[in-house]
């Protein structure tokens, strides 16, 4: 007997993501999903973003890691609420993990939740978390060829943060090649050159994010 199913494989995750999205919309909170390889500077970028926006927005952070609370501790040290999700080996966050983290946050008194996904440019690609925007952080030492190795994530991102541009003179990073390969995958995402460490370019990125948050707020 043949049974027609015709449904998305990730139907369950997609439904939970939709519920997350609705919940945040009701609470007036914007969620930002931050994706990168290990060592690209996700946490430093998040801290720099917080420093740029904390006077105008109430921010919390969800840290996704396979193990440890190192990143959540770093964020809390700056007086920002943080929830650590330990995936226990899983290489990406799923909507249900984020839902449980939301339960531990005072959503009604927040404007922005920054979700630091597990350091990985492949596995998180297909898993919607119910975020308002997705950004990929790519650091200069990783090399300009990365969009060609991880096309899925670069195609699905809303912005690209090219981090550690202060090290450009040390590495063989072909910025024209990088920009071109991102464009071939994604005609919409702006590329922000920045250094989360020195603060270069952070203001432009933060301004873009603040605009997105403002545009998403119910009128």
């Amino acid at each position: 007997m043949e049974i027609d199913l015709s449904r998305p494989i990730l139907d369950h995750n997609d439904r939970l993501a939709a519920a997350n999205r609705a919940r945040l919309e009701t609470a007036g909170v914007f969620a930002l999903d931050v994706l990168a390889s290990p060592g690209a500077g996700k946490t430093t970028t998040i801290l720099a973003t917080i420093a740029a926006l904390r006077d105008s927005l109430r921010i919390a952070v969800i840290e996704g890691d396979i193990a440890s609370t190192v990143d959540a501790d770093k964020v809390k040290a700056h007086g920002i609420p943080a929830v650590q999700i330990n995936t226990g080996g899983a290489c990406h966050l799923e909507a249900d993990m984020v839902r449980r983290a939301y339960d531990a946050l005072p959503l009604d008194s927040l404007d922005l939740v920054i979700i630091e996904n597990v350091g990985n440019l492949v596995c998180p690609t297909e898993f919607d978390l119910g975020q308002g925007a997705r950004v990929v952080v790519l650091s200069v030492p990783e090399g300009s060829d990365k969009p060609l190795k991880y096309p899925g994530i670069f195609a699905q991102t809303d912005a690209v943060l090219l981090n550690k541009v202060d090290t450009m003179h040390v590495f063989d990073f072909d910025e024209a090649e990088f920009t071109d390969s991102v464009r071939r995958l994604n005609g919409h995402a702006p590329i922000f050159r920045m250094s989360a460490k020195t603060g270069e370019g952070v203001a432009e990125w933060a301004e873009w994010l603040a605009e997105r948050i403002k545009a998403a707020k119910p009128r």
Binding site: M1, E2, I3, D4, L5, S6, R7, P8, I9, L10, D11, H12, N13, A90, C91, H92, E94, V122, C123, P124, T125, E126, F127, P147, L148, Y150, P151, G152, I153, A155, S181, R183, R184, L185, N186, G187, H188
Partner: protein, 124 residues
């Protein structure tokens, strides 16, 4: 290996549907995986073989169809085929394109055996 999580979702759908229709055996499950997704068909097969033993889907064939990528240009409306790495319009060169096919992650259908109905009371 996010393919394990994805395969688990396929298996959950198969197990639930089998229970609903009273299946005694699952023969085949068909899924479609777009070329643009970060899902490797071989890894799905590997995960399927690892996850299905001791379930109703034990021994069932997982048939994976990969769909090629197609996009439409939002500037000149040309539809075109492309690879994973370059979605630029082949006609006008615009980067403003939108995917039509190749991003699917879909369970299509499954083939099962169901118990014969002749044991139902009142029959025969």
């Amino acid at each position: 290996m996010h393919e394990f999580g994805i395969t688990q979702e396929i298996l959950t759908a198969v197990v639930n549907t089998s229970a609903r229709v009273g299946a005694t055996k699952v023969n085949k499950v068909r899924v479609t995986v777009g070329e643009l997704t970060e899902v490797v068909p071989d890894s799905l097969q590997f995960a399927w073989e690892a996850l299905t033993p001791c379930t109703i889907a034990e021994g069932a064939v997982l048939e994976v169809t990969q769909t090629p990528a197609r996009s439409v240009c939002t500037e000149c409306s040309t539809e075109f085929a492309h690879d994973r790495f370059d979605r630029r319009c082949t006609s006008c060169g615009s980067f403003m394109t939108s995917v039509l096919a190749g991003d699917e992650l879909r369970i299509d259908d499954m083939d099962v055996d169901v118990a014969e109905a002749d044991e139902e009371p009142g029959e025969g």
